[in-house]
């Protein structure tokens, strides 16, 4: 069901020819040649349309865009702090909702999108994003553009920097060749696994633009808090000739390093080339083909390529869902059935220790509405819980 305050309904675009021509993020931004973090701003705004408010955290898409008292944004935009994407989105959405509900503002669907880079989002702002994704009463999209570094400060390691990559915090030297030894966190999967009420979480890339725009529209139409993560090849931070931005984005997917997927209403689907790889229709290209085209891996030796390949192989061969859920499952409950089920309601749990016990069987809940409990409804039955007095705090 929809959270109060309707989400804007946007149909999927499906093909380039059907993409709207209007731009809501325009030329005249001080971004690098070939910047594939600017392109998602453009595509996201294009997909969202004019009834949108954008909150932009500190980062490349702040300093390089709304640069020195000018702006490329056609839709309303406001700066927010580095780690504040989640809180900016909630605050904006809550503000609009209160005013509309109280009749102080015209009631209409307005998109609220807060964007953040991988530094601001996956590192500093992770707590706020997590909190926002539990606020199911608010319609919002948190859009993380991942160029795999703190790019605006001239490239430093973030939690999204690939293993071994050169940054100014991880330069190779005579004593240590590999200074960046952390494996990239899996953010969209982590958020999906941890926030079951979130209706839409997806991973995309501007290198595949229509898919990215359709995912933005699906997020905005889903209602409630949603999250998108896009991989942005960055010629400055990755060190390659700018004309190859689109090509490298595609290669990241073709090597299986960066997976495309969406989790919609509790159902996880791999999409695009990632899906083809999972179906066996396409072989993953060796990671070397992707890594050796970037100066940030120029110091790699065979052993480094081998390690990287091993980790990607592990992801595809051992993870419960490749690219999404980073662990395997050891039972005791077997997940039966070949068709993917919506929210496992129809899954038969064999060998579950509580089968037949009162209060635990699925059958017990037949007749109870599937709708989640809505505390904001007038008819909530507080009389049933006389001991639940409002707390006075500490």
């Amino acid at each position: 069901m929809e959270a109060p305050g309707r989400a804007l309904k946007l149909d999927p675009i499906k093909s380039i020819k059907k993409a709207p021509a209007e731009e809501f993020y325009q030329s005249g931004h001080r971004t690098c040649q070939g910047c594939l973090s600017a392109l998602p701003m453009r595509l996201m705004a294009k997909a969202a349309g004019p009834r949108t408010i954008v909150l932009g955290t500190t980062g490349c898409m702040y300093v390089a865009n709304t640069t020195y008292m000018s702006t490329p944004w056609v839709v309303p935009w406001m700066h927010t702090q580095l780690g504040a994407a989640g809180s900016a989105a909630v605050g904006t959405s809550a503000g609009l909702k209160a005013l509309m509900r109280k009749g102080k503002m015209k009631d209409e669907p307005i998109n609220v999108i807060a964007f953040c880079g991988d530094g601001g989002g996956a590192d500093m702002g992770l707590a706020a994003i997590s909190a926002a994704l539990t606020d199911i009463e608010y319609n919002l999209l948190i859009f993380l553009y991942d160029n795999e570094s703190y790019a605006n400060t001239d490239i430093q390691t973030s939690g999204q920097t690939p293993w071994g990559a050169v940054t100014t915090f991880s330069p190779p030297g005579k004593k240590h060749r590999i200074m960046q030894r952390r494996w990239k966190k899996n953010v969209p999967g982590m958020l999906a696994a941890g926030h079951p009420d979130t209706k839409y979480i997806a991973s995309g890339t501007p290198a595949i633009p229509v898919d990215m725009m359709d995912k933005v529209r699906a997020a905005l139409s889903a209602g409630g808090p949603t999250y998108m993560h896009v991989l942005d090849p960055c010629p400055k931070g990755w060190h390659y000739d700018p004309e190859h931005s689109n090509e490298l984005g595609k290669l990241a997917i073709e090597t299986g390093i960066y997976p495309l997927y969406e989790i919609k209403d509790g159902l996880c689907k791999l999409t695009g080339v990632t899906k083809q790889i999972a179906e066996g229709k396409r072989q993953r290209k060796p990671v070397r083909e992707y890594l050796e085209k970037q100066g940030r891996f120029a110091h790699f030796k065979n052993q480094d390529y081998a390690y990287f390949q091993k980790k990607i192989d592990e992801m595809w061969e051992q993870w419960l869902i490749p690219g999404v859920v980073a662990f395997t499952y050891g039972g005791p409950i077997n997940i039966a059935g070949e068709e993917a089920k919506i929210r496992n309601r129809n899954v038969v749990r064999e060998n579950a220790s509580w089968v037949g016990m009162a209060g635990h069987s699925h059958e017990e809940f037949e007749g109870v509405s599937d709708e989640p409990y809505e505390p904001w409804r007038d008819d909530n039955e507080m009389d049933e819980y006389p001991n639940a007095l409002p707390s006075t705090g500490q």
């Binding site: 030329s27 005249g28 040649q33 600017a38 300093v63 020195y68 702006t71 944004w73």
Partner: protein
Amino acid sequence: MPTGREAGDSMPGDQDTIEGRTSTEVRDEAKSVEFTYRGIFQKTLAANLCKHVVMAARKRDWLGSTIQRYSDSPERNGIPAKQFAVIAPDTETLEGHMAKYEPNELDVITVLDDTMCDGIESWAWYGRQPINVRLRRGGTLLVISNRSAEELLKVIPRKPWDWTLAIVPGTPSMGGLWVYRDDGTDMRVLGAIASARPDIFGFDAISAVVKDDESLDNRYLDALRSGHDEVSVYEVSAGEGKEDDYEPVKLPGWKDMREAIIVEAVKPGERNPHYRSSSDRTMRPVVNFDTCIKCRQCWIDCPDECFEISEEELHPINYSYCTGCGICANVCPVEDCIVMVNDLEFVEEGDKDVFPMWEDDKDAYHEWREEKIARGRIDHQAHFNADTWAK
């Protein structure tokens, strides 16, 4: 941002020039050398050059300091940026040139990519500034280029006094942040400075610095020598060059600005009027509108929103904002439908839209296009530049 240069201020003129004496004449005061370069691609090259200027000046017991133009940072690929080396005979004189945004006047301006000669727009509100805007009277503009002085002076604005244009033959050396493009360009430029402006440092001084560095072998000394020998110096007379139509920017004052740090959004259908990214370009795309299959890949993949959609669903390019990244040429599925051409081939056309030219007379357009491609086609092969010794 450069300060003290509000509208109404004259361009830095004789304020810091000792009356009547030009750049090369004055021996015992501070000298400032600017390196104008393509952001990121040439950042390390510029830093290396600045450092060497100071080390060479040390050989005659002068002191020195280098300055990064802070608002250039964070640098972006292709966006023109500047670094400076300031040298002086003593501490007090040097101190007068430190804690500065950038030097008021430059004795030497070195341009590491000649496609910047037609002006540079490094950030919003200042428009496209002339490459020699702060050149000191009698100063030297040193350019790495395979073009002649006549060609370059078609885009470099004139001055009301004499100055010199020095040209080191070569193509721009483009690297990146992690792998230094070690192709001898730094040495050639240093050798050229020593030849054209021995008052900055002499050839013996810079050779000594290079010899002191154990990591540099004979190739570097040879490159130093070749830069020194191959640079050609052209005396530019007062009034020679392009007309100087640069309007010093007038920034609004606090009484005129909107309160609470607010600016108007871009109007639908328009683009950001305060910042044009066109001076980022080393090369620009030229389209064959006849072989275009209207797949829209270029339009959708352009990070700078430069492609329009015409009535016939073709894609004219807005060159005021095209940064010359080359993605369109890379993603276009039709061979040679979009070709990248060196930006200095388009001096007459400037940033104007060429689509009307094609609409008017397709044959003339193709002739024009073929000529441009023949003169200045650029194809990139490698993904990131490896070391190839500069010619």
